[in-house]
């Protein structure tokens, strides 16, 4: 397996070998973080952090998880941490809520429908959003999601269902589908 070979190389001190992993995963990780944060620049930053942490982690631990699940777990943590920080900052006066949610239209040029989908998605609580994005965008099976998030498949099914229902409501309110 490719990852196992890369990991072996890294442990042997070949930091450049990690480039292969970044190249393989960067697009999907950035996309995932973008869907989680709604901020393209931030997604890139968090992706960088994710890879750096993954690099350090590879040296330290024998991952029991599949590499992909583990990488997404780190990315999810970073996304959640970013969200917590935003919450903390919003307690500081002068920081308005409106500015916290960046205007997705400005981020990436996209048709009106994608914009509405995106807007609706960003309003769903992270717990459910994570599951929706992992399943529909990243193509994870429920089992893989459970592995990534460290929860049961039952919980994943519940979250996906709830997330979908919220999405349908929010999407209609956003005026999508009209």
């Amino acid at each position: 397996m490719k990852e196992a070979r890369v990991i072996a190389l890294i442990r042997a001190g070949e930091a450049d070998a990690f480039a292969e992993i970044i190249e393989d995963y960067q697009a999907s990780i950035i996309r995932y973080l973008y869907r989680m944060t709604g901020d393209h620049e931030m997604a890139k930053d968090l992706a960088q952090d994710t890879f750096i942490q993954a690099y350090k982690g590879i040296l330290k631990t024998d991952a029991e998880l599949s590499f992909r699940a583990w990488l997404y777990r780190i990315a999810t943590n970073n996304a959640l941490q970013h969200h917590r920080r935003k919450k903390l900052l919003s307690f500081i006066p002068f920081t308005s809520k409106e500015q916290d949610i960046p205007d997705a239209r400005k981020q990436i040029n996209c048709p009106g429908e994608t914009f509405a989908i995106n807007e609706a998605l960003l309003k769903i609580p992270e717990e459910q959003r994570t599951c929706l994005v992992l399943h529909f965008v990243e193509g994870f099976k429920y089992r893989e999601i459970a592995e990534t998030l460290g929860c049961s498949e039952e919980a994943v099914r519940k979250r996906v269902t709830r997330g979908k229902k919220l999405f349908i409501g929010l999407y209609n309110r956003e005026g999508g589908g009209v």
Binding site: I22, E23, F51, C110, T114, V160
Partner: protein, 848 residues
């Protein structure tokens, strides 16, 4: 089964996550349930929509930067300082905050007690009263409650003695000094005080109504009384009363009960009720003392704390550099001090910030604004410290208000900027203008600081500006009041004065209800004197310092203190108080004396005597033009003689014309006379008499030539004329034997030199000694009533023109004591007959 319960299964069915049996079950249900088919359609639509997000185009480009960062972190984590950087920066921030709180004390003023103690410690009067003994302890005893609550009594102890000093915090001066004996407290005095208080009916009433006795403080109160002795002399006596102060709280109000435990008496009972003004003062003090530092502390915690939690590897060093830069700038604004550790702190903190900022800049590849701003601020702070050090020549300069305001503003701006950091970073994405904007803001801030020049608002620099502003004045007007108190007598004089550069003065002087007018043009002094010759004017008129003297005093001011700004007229003025550095003035004047001069020894002695004089000056200087608007001066000698003068200046550089009082023909206008001010040169004592050994110079001989024109016979000159004496009168008379006599009267009047006047008159012991000596030497004494004159010295010389042997006969020096209170002269002279003395007295009358 309820359809609602099937939602999860339906959802999973759409997602293809059901087992075969579950799938079959759902399919069966769907065929018979329209509602669930509807839900299914919605789920399918949602799935399609969400899956469409997969199409998002991502252009990944992070491989290189991520890899370089991985290598950088690897390198960093290999270096040992990475491990202590974080705790060290945190510690530095905390230490800096504590340092600011404890050391710089930029918020609020020092407590009234501490201020009073420092006034007492530095007061020359107190030093004099203690005979220069070292002050061991200063104890606050009583706060005398006046309107402003700002008079404090202090006990000052040395090893030998204790004096009580009354300090007025408003004028920052010691107003009374009295020697006192201090009784000690006995153990159990607190309880005794409570017992005594309880015997008082008013206290009993308070207690019956539910009052509770709170704290008991043991202190001392001082009572200063004026004692009039049997001989009519007055003296001050201080009594120290041991006092216990009890507080009784009733219905939220506080009652103060003062008790003397030794005598068992209740001294006073009063309700302490702060006035509205005092409440405002207390609130503002509280805000500046506690709230502001807490805010700053929270701000720094925010700056450092948030950064720790947030991608710390990126931000910690930059944040630390920024925080230290802000603190450093703040410290720099307070570094106007000679205290070494303050300087060290204000240099050290920005220096550390600078190092961290530069180190950080080398590590990171983006988001550089924090270390860059930190480096800029640190550099600015260091620059300020060095500018301060250079410009102020390190004198004792306390922090300045403007500096404080700017320092606080910078800190608050930093905190706000950090709070907005997220927004600022968000803006970055769309805008390329952030960096230029930040640079512009920084440039504007630097410009504002440069324009406001907070560091130059030190008293020294203001005085320096006032000096050059005064030096450049072409004309001004001045009103002055001069009060001199010596040995219980008071002399008062007011004057209105005009000055036109370079050397023209016009003064209207009011003394003892009489008005005198003086015009001085160059060396000529014209006097219009209703008392006809009573007033004498020296090289400059009395009590009003010339521009040169004003400048000299300005240059010698030291120990400057900044007081709150005040309006003088409608001009906003800076208010300073300071002391004339007499040591420095003495050294300056000494350096100007010429040792080859005849009167050098004498002059040196007089200059040395100046060391005992203390002169305190209060100055009000216009904020805009640095011109002196008001000048208040208090001169005292060993606490015995006091002179107060107040002068207000106005009409600066207005056209002022001062002309000599001459008629069109060039003669003196009626009522005016020209005051001669040409002093005779002196001959050293012991020299051979004129004219045999030393031929007199032209200048010397001029007055005699003038006198000779009045007679048709030759006259000689006196052989010794004391320093500065002027020929005042020449008289020709016939003696009973028919001999013709010429008498010269030389004298000097010293009212214009009030310091000399006080020195000669101030010391009662000296006067008594002199009186005794005069008596012993057989002085003849004459009192002339009805004269209100001046102290003077004189020499009477007479020449018998018919008898050459008496030709250069001269008299001993005469002392004439002026007694303002009794309006009479006491004239004493040695080796003269009553006839001669009467002659002398009459000539005096004629002249004065």
């Amino acid at each position: 089964m309820n359809c609602k319960d099937l939602e999860e299964l339906l959802s999973a069915y759409v997602d293809g996550e059901l087992s075969r049996t579950q799938r079959e079950f759902i399919e069966e249900h769907l065929s018979g349930c329209a509602d669930c088919r509807e839900t299914l359609a919605q789920f399918e639509a949602a799935g399609r929509q969400l899956s469409s997000l997969r199409e998002t185009q991502i252009t990944p480009d992070i491989t290189t930067t991520t890899l370089s960062k991985i290598k950088a972190t690897k390198a960093l984590s290999d270096k040992p300082y990475r491990r202590w950087l974080r705790p060290v920066t945190a510690a530095a921030a905390i230490v800096a905050v504590i340092a600011i709180l404890l050391v710089a004390q930029p918020w609020g003023r020092e407590s009234p007690e501490a201020m009073a103690a420092s006034i007492v410690r530095n007061s020359p009067e107190v030093q004099a009263a203690l005979n220069g003994e070292e002050i061991e302890e200063v104890e606050v005893t009583t706060k005398v409650v006046d309107e402003e609550n700002n008079v404090i009594m202090m006990l000052v102890r040395t090893e030998e003695r204790v004096v009580a000093a009354e300090v007025n915090l408003d004028t920052k001066k010691v107003t009374e000094i009295v020697r006192v004996e201090v009784p000690d407290f006995q153990p159990g005095d607190e309880q005794k005080a409570i017992d005594i208080a309880k015997t008082d009916p008013r206290v009993q009433e308070l207690l019956v109504r539910g009052g509770v006795i709170g704290e008991v403080h043991l202190g001392r109160s001082i009572d200063i009384r004026e004692i009039i002795g049997p001989d009519g002399t007055t003296s001050k006596e201080g009594t120290v009363i041991p006092t216990a102060l009890l507080t009784i709280e009733l219905d939220g109000k506080h009652w103060n009960v003062a008790v003397n435990p030794n005598e068992g008496t209740v001294l006073s009972i009063g309700q302490s009720q702060p006035s509205a003004a005092m409440i405002v003062v207390h609130i503002s003090r509280f805000v500046t003392r506690f709230v502001a530092p807490v805010l700053l502390f929270l701000g720094i915690l925010l700056v450092s704390g948030l950064s720790f939690g947030y991608r710390r590897a990126k931000t910690i060093a930059g944040t630390a550099a920024l925080a230290l830069g802000i603190i450093g700038l703040f410290m720099a604004l307070y570094s106007l001090s000679s205290i070494w550790w303050r300087l060290v702190l204000s240099v050290g903190i920005p220096a550390v910030g600078l190092i961290i900022g530069i180190a950080d800049l080398r590590q990171r590849d983006r988001r550089r604004w924090m270390p860059i701003t930190g480096i800029v601020l640190c550099s600015l702070a260091l620059l300020l410290v060095f500018l301060n050090a250079i410009m102020l020549n390190i004198n004792n300069v306390p922090g300045e208000n403007i500096g404080r305001v700017i320092g606080m503003a910078v800190v608050i701006a930093g905190i706000i900027a950090y709070a907005f950091k997220e927004q600022i970073m968000a803006i970055r994405i769309s805008g390329k203008w952030l960096r230029p904007a930040a640079v512009a803001v920084a440039a504007v801030a630097v410009l504002i600081i440069a324009l406001v020049q907070p560091w130059s608002v030190s008293p020294q620099s203001v005085i320096a500006k006032a000096y050059s502003a005064t030096e450049g004045l072409l004309s001004y007007r001045m009103s002055s009041t001069f009060i001199s108190t010596s040995e219980g007598r008071t002399f008062q004089q007011t004057s209105e004065c005009e000055f036109a550069a370079p050397d023209r003065w016009h003064q209207i002087l009011t003394m003892d209800g009489r008005e005198y007018e003086i015009i001085s043009v160059g060396d000529n002094i014209y006097v219009n004197d209703p008392a006809d010759g009573r007033l004498s004017v020296g090289s400059w008129s009395p009590s009003v310092p010339s521009k040169e003297e004003t400048l000299e005093i300005l240059a010698a001011l030291t120990d400057l203190k900044t007081l709150p700004d005040e309006l003088i007229g409608d001009t906003d003025c800076l208010h300073y108080s300071g002391r004339v550095d007499m040591e420095r003035r003495v050294e300056e004047i000494k350096s100007r004396l010429d040792p080859s001069d005849a009167g050098y020894e004498e002059a040196l002695k007089r200059v040395e005597e100046m060391r005992g004089i203390s002169t305190m000056v209060d100055l009000w200087i216009g904020k805009e033009d640095y011109l002196i608007r008001k000048w208040q001066q208090e001169t005292s000698l060993a606490g015995v003689v006091r002179e107060n003068s107040t002068r207000t200046y106005y009409d600066f550089n207005q056209p002022i014309t001062i002309e000599p009082p001459l008629t069109a023909e060039g003669k003196l206008s009626p009522g005016w006379r020209l005051q001669e001010t040409i002093p005779l040169p002196t001959l050293p004592a012991g020299e051979a008499p004129h004219p045999t050994s030393i031929p007199p110079s032209e200048e010397e001989i001029a007055p005699y030539l003038e006198a000779r024109r009045q007679v048709d016979f030759p006259i000689g000159m006196p052989r010794y004329i004391p320093d500065e004496m002027v020929l005042e009168n020449v008289d020709i008379m016939e003696t009973p034997t028919g001999a013709k006599m010429v008498r010269f009267l030389y004298g000097k009047k010293t009212i214009s030199q009030h310091i000399k006047l006080t020195q000669s008159r101030c010391n009662p012991q000296d006067k008594a000694e002199r009186d005794a000596a005069f008596e012993k030497a057989g002085f003849t004494e004459v009192k002339i009533k009805g004269v209100n004159g001046y102290w003077r010295q004189g020499v009477l010389c007479q020449t018998d023109i018919d008898n050459p042997s008496t030709q250069y006969w001269d008299m001993e020096q005469i002392e004439i004591w002026w007694d303002a209170g009794e309006t009479s002269y006491t004239i004493m002279a040695k080796n003269v007959t009553m006839d001669e003395l009467l002659y002398l007295a009459n000539s005096m009358l004629k002249i004065d």
